[in-house]
């Protein structure tokens, strides 16, 4: 029986995985009865090459507190080079997110093969605990609640005109 510690905050973790390696690795972890945080929601893709950076963005916008992207080790991609292309794309995307002010601690990339059930458990546990320590991802959530059409439209003159109606 695994321990049932109570936490104040249960982060939502979205994992984008390739079906051939990491998904099979996660499956192995399951069939081997390994325990890992139930915070992770797994989304399966044909290959990491199919994981568009916009999916990561969308996950954060829809309330994810952390995102894991995982696929086959270099050289093992079932489409030969999908993960090599993905590696460059994600390297670039990380830099972009960092520049707009997203804390990269919430985003983890990994290679997990079909035989690495243990590594999958480790990846999910590490990210979950790290994000738990960081607290909820507020930035995108606050953004989604904001309705302001344009910052510049709220001027004292307009306010006065509005209040005089």
């Amino acid at each position: 029986m695994h321990h049932t510690e109570k936490h104040n905050f249960e982060p939502k973790i979205i994992a984008f995985v390739c079906t051939w390696c990491t998904y099979a690795g996660a499956d192995l972890a399951g069939t081997s009865r390994m325990q890992y945080p139930a915070n992770v929601r797994v989304l399966k893709f044909p290959c990491t090459g199919r994981i568009d950076p916009v999916f990561i963005l969308k996950a954060f916008q829809q309330g994810a507190d952390g995102v894991l992207v995982s696929g086959c080790h270099p050289g093992d991609c079932h489409y030969i080079a999908g993960n090599f292309h993905a590696r460059r794309r994600f390297a670039a995307f990380r830099k972009l997110l960092e520049f707009v002010g997203v804390d990269l601690g919430r985003l983890q990339f990994s290679w997990v093969s079909a035989a690495e059930g243990g590594k999958w458990v480790e990846m999910v546990t590490d990210l979950t605990e790290r994000v738990r320590g960081m607290g909820p991802m507020q930035e995108f959530r606050e953004l989604a609640l904001e309705e302001q059409w344009s910052g510049a439209i709220d001027t004292p003159e307009l306010r006065e005109a509005y209040n005089s109606i």
Binding site: K58, R88, V102, S150, A152
Partner: protein, 306 residues
């Protein structure tokens, strides 16, 4: 004015462009020339397509010739007559965009006749088009330009620009933002993105935004919220920067046309800087089949992957 920039060569360049356009049009070696012509307000300029040698006299080059005309060869190309070579007037920065389009198989070199402009710089704003070009009125992109003389063109006037050493505004601003904490950067961009009205002028003017259907317009599934709310705006700017990473030529047209004064070229330039550091790739005058994000090396850095 000590920091005024010498644009006297633009008169001679105008004549050279006119002569060349007249020659190639009358020899029928091109069917049209895309260039600049004087617009209604004194000193202002606008893009023009001429098809007759007699119209060559309409062409000009001045510090108000800000547009990157390469965009007319992709998105708006349907408005340009088919069935022959097209001449186009390009500054160094415009040529880099055009070279990128050649690399992406959007254009064929043999279908173009390139008239390169030795360029000392253009104005930052055309609100007062007749203003003198100085270190204060020059476009920020020209401050850090290293392509004053386009290369690989079919014709380049003989004049050579004299340029001033000016401190780079983009690089300074990028460095300022890089020094901030993530939270401060988020606050900065939040304020900027909030202003966006989703007019898509930046997309319309960009030579590389040539997709017939943009991901940001799709609604099944909707990847990017289309309403001009802070959330959708942020997503738009991130997706835009990502789709242009490794492709943007730094012509800064996007930033020039933004009605809300969002410094959006900072994102593109930051990405260009990162891709140079990561993969030693830079937009230039040499046509390359693949950009940095369309190729890979088995030894690429993966220190960020566990």
């Amino acid at each position: 004015m000590t920091n005024s920039i010498d644009t006297s060569i633009y008169t001679a360049i105008t004549e050279a462009i006119q002569d060349e356009a007249r020659r190639i049009l009358s020899e029928r070696s091109v069917i049209a020339v895309v260039g600049y012509t004087a617009a209604r307000r004194k000193g202002s300029a606008q893009p023009v397509v001429i098809t007759q040698a007699d119209d060559a006299g309409k062409l000009i080059f001045s510090a108000a010739c800000v547009n990157n005309l390469a965009v007319y060869l992709t998105k708006a190309k349907k408005e340009i007559p088919k069935g022959g070579k097209i001449g186009i007037v390009v500054k160094g920065c415009d040529l880099k965009a055009l070279v990128g389009l050649l690399g992406e198989s959007q254009l064929k070199r043999e279908e173009l006749y390139l008239i390169g402009v030795p360029c000392a710089g253009v104005l930052a704003s055309t609100a007062q088009p007749a203003r003198e070009l100085t270190g204060d009125t020059i476009a920020p992109k020209c401050r850090e330009c290293d392509n004053h003389l386009p290369q690989g063109c079919d014709f380049v006037p003989d004049q050579r620009p004299v340029t001033l050493e000016l401190a780079g505004k983009y690089s300074a601003e990028i460095a300022r933002l890089e020094a901030m904490t993530p939270a401060e950067r988020w606050a900065y961009w939040k304020e900027q993105f909030k202003k966006c009205i989703k007019c898509y002028a930046c997309r319309q003017v960009c030579p590389f935004c040539f997709c017939e259907q943009c991901l940001c317009d799709r609604n099944k599934p909707q990847m990017v919220e289309t309403t001009p709310r802070p959330a959708g705006n942020t997503a738009w700017h991130i997706v835009r920067a990502m789709h242009l990473a490794g492709r943007c030529a730094g012509c800064a047209e996007c930033e020039r046309v933004c009605p809300m004064d969002i410094p959006l070229n900072l994102l593109n330039r930051k990405m260009a800087k990162e891709l140079k550091e990561l993969y030693d790739y830079e937009a230039g005058f040499e046509v390359r089949e693949k950009g940095p994000l369309a190729m890979y090396d088995e030894k690429d850095d993966q220190s960020f992957i566990k």
